[in-house]
């Protein structure tokens, strides 16, 4: 049954809108629009755009916190293409993203659909899934270090329950990155589940009911009513996932520092090391620019894959 929004009891009859009024309306809308947008534009301009411009400028220099610095044009970029650490970082980050994004989105959607049924203990479930997200990343990384400890960690204890041989996890070049991927998926689930849940709850019940009346099965309802309806939110989750996985840092920094060797070295970690360890801020800025370009490419691909979001 549906109810209606209670409008304030005004007795004014509906006005006829002559052409003049529609122009004034447009003007007032545009004015209001810009006024509403202004604070965000100002804030992002000062605190994000200006630093980014600074980074762009820095990327053309060899500034390294010393007294003197020089313009090197695209020298940093040329050096980067020959930099073994950068190549490894780029590759690992792309790999990490390709694995973590689809898996975590799929699992999160499945969980959200599951939680959206009328089940008992909803509060418990939602809180449980969200706990990893509210815990500080440093704490998460520290705890997982314990779990992955080859000698005495939970992970190997778990494996031995099922009779599997212990794994070296983070200490093995082959399994180090996959181990981090697991933690990445684990930690990112909560946010996605919450967002998907909020979206699922805005799916028009009327449409679902009429689909029911038409005899649509559960899967058909999902594919034809639910999926399109959560389109904008899907896009949001995809974008933020791409950005988030590409910018993974705290997890890696605490758990492996990029090791063994450079098997788990990722982009932001490489940038951070170049900037604050090697004190080569100019070089690190160039690396950041390249990273942003790569993320933009991925988002472009993401937009292509994401079908018809009419409001975009």
């Amino acid at each position: 049954m549906s109810t209606t929004l209670e409008r304030p009891a005004l007795a004014t009859p509906r006005k006829v809108t002559p052409a003049k009024d529609s122009r004034t309306l447009l003007k007032s809308q545009v004015r209001t629009g810009w006024a509403l947008l202004a604070p965000a534009l100002l804030h992002s301009g000062v605190f994000i755009v200006i630093p980014v411009i600074a980074v762009l400028v820095l990327s053309l220099t060899d500034y390294s916190f010393g007294d003197t610095w020089a313009w090197v044009g695209f020298g940093n970029y040329a050096d980067l293409f020959r930099d073994v650490d950068f190549q490894a970082s780029l590759w690992h980050t792309v790999l990490y993203a390709i694995v973590v994004i689809p898996i975590s989105m799929a699992i999160a959607l499945a969980v959200a659909v599951g939680l959206n049924q009328k089940i008992r203990g909803l509060t418990f479930f939602r809180t449980a899934y969200y706990i990893p997200t509210v815990t500080a990343t440093v704490a998460v990384a520290t705890i997982w270090l314990w779990i992955y400890n080859p000698g005495s960690g939970l992970a190997n204890g778990f494996l031995s329950l099922f009779g599997f041989a212990p794994n070296r996890w983070l200490a093995d070049p082959a399994t180090a990155l996959p181990s981090l991927m697991v933690v990445g998926i684990w930690q990112g689930l909560g946010t996605k589940v919450i967002i998907y849940l909020a979206a699922l709850q805005t799916v028009s019940r009327d449409l679902l009911e009429s689909a029911d009346l038409d005899g649509a099965g559960r899967w058909q309802k999902f594919a034809n009513v639910t999926w399109p309806a959560i389109g904008p939110v899907q896009f949001f989750v995809l974008i933020t996932s791409i950005v988030g996985t590409f910018q993974v840092f705290d997890l890696v920094y605490v758990m492996t520092q990029g090791g063994p060797g450079s098997e788990t070295r990722v982009l932001v970690m490489d940038i951070y090391q170049n900037a604050f360890q090697d004190l080569k801020l100019g070089y690190a800025s160039a690396e950041t620019v390249i990273m942003m370009i790569v993320i933009a490419l991925f988002i472009g691909v993401g937009r292509l894959l994401q079908k018809a979001d009419a409001n975009d």
């Binding site: 209001t32 980074v55 009328k118 706990i131 500080a136 009327d206 974008i239």
Partner: protein
């Protein structure tokens, strides 16, 4: 006459005990346990002694509640809690105001180039915080007319070591403008039309009609922003020199100050205590989620 509704989609069929249902519960519970186990582990470790921690073991020998007490007494944690609270609330209020306004403008206002502006906000998501740390620090130091600066931003320390510096730069993230916009976009335009007919101005439509309708989004933004502010480490570290303004995560770092001798029970106890408010907040936020999605509709 048709009516469209935007209610919460929940099945009103009675939950029959079907195998499908049981499977659902099992899967969800296993998943929930997987999610919670590390946190439980952390909690259990908080009760252990140093010796127990060095050797692996699930359960502590005894419940050492004094670990929690001693951890909190190592440093002025009450003050750190208060600071974190202040930063979290301040940042969230700022974000909610700025981002809902901007999101609405992008979603519903006929601005030329609003698509380009949306792309602008999305592109800003790309910027990793670590690399703009130094320029951002410089900008914050040069805010004119604050902290002893003249109108050109010289001579003083601007917003460094101040609440402004802790709250404003990291607030109103483009992410939340984006999220708000996506939610506003799915609201029907008829609502605005109807309100206009009743004489409500554009800003009024935004504030009194549209925004209350996206309560789930507002709560989502609030939850995320509070969590981000609560768990922030690097920026508060960089921007504060004095201890009096430092938030919780910086306080917890005391326990791992000496890498040769990390005080694990205290660290785990402190972290558990730090995470607790977030969990409590979330439990409460959920209920509002559901409430906010009560019956809303429109007659056309």
């Amino acid at each position: 006459m048709t009516s469209a509704t935007l209610p919460a989609v929940r099945s009103t069929k009675p939950s029959a005990i079907r195998p499908g249902r049981i499977l659902l519960y099992v899967v969800l519970t296993v998943g929930a346990l997987l999610m919670m186990t590390p946190f439980i582990w952390m909690l259990l470790t908080a009760f252990k002694s140093n010796l127990e921690i060095a050797k692996f073991g699930w359960l502590p020998g005894e419940l050492r509640w004094h670990n929690f007490v001693e951890a909190m007494q190592t440093a002025p944690f009450l003050r750190y809690f208060r600071n974190s609270l202040f930063i979290a609330v301040g940042e969230t209020a700022f974000t909610l105001v700025v981002c809902t306004m901007a999101g609405y403008a992008l979603a519903k206002m006929p601005l030329r180039g609003s698509k380009a502006l949306l792309t602008y906000f999305i592109v800003l998501l790309l910027v990793p915080f670590q690399i703009i740390l130094v320029p951002l620090f410089l900008i914050v130091k040069s805010i004119p007319l604050f902290g002893g600066n003249n109108i050109l931003g010289h001579g003083g320390i601007g917003w460094l070591n101040s609440w402004w510096g802790l709250i404003i730069p990291l607030g109103a993230a483009p992410l939340f403008t984006f999220l708000a916009r996506q939610f506003y976009v799915s609201l029907p335009d008829e609502l605005a039309q109807a309100a206009r007919v009743d004489g409500l101005g554009e800003f009024g439509i935004f504030a009194r009609i549209m925004t209350p309708l996206i309560k789930p989004a507002l709560i989502t933004i609030a939850v995320f922003q509070i969590e981000a502010a609560w768990n922030g480490f690097l920026w508060p570290l960089m921007i504060t020199t004095s201890d009096s303004m430092r938030p919780l995560q910086l306080g917890l770092a005391i326990f791992s100050q000496n890498p040769a001798e990390i005080q694990w029970p205290y660290l785990m106890a402190g972290t558990a205590l730090a995470t607790l408010p977030m969990i409590v907040m979330f439990v409460f936020a959920q209920k509002r989620f559901v409430e906010g999605m009560a019956n809303v509709g429109i007659k056309g």
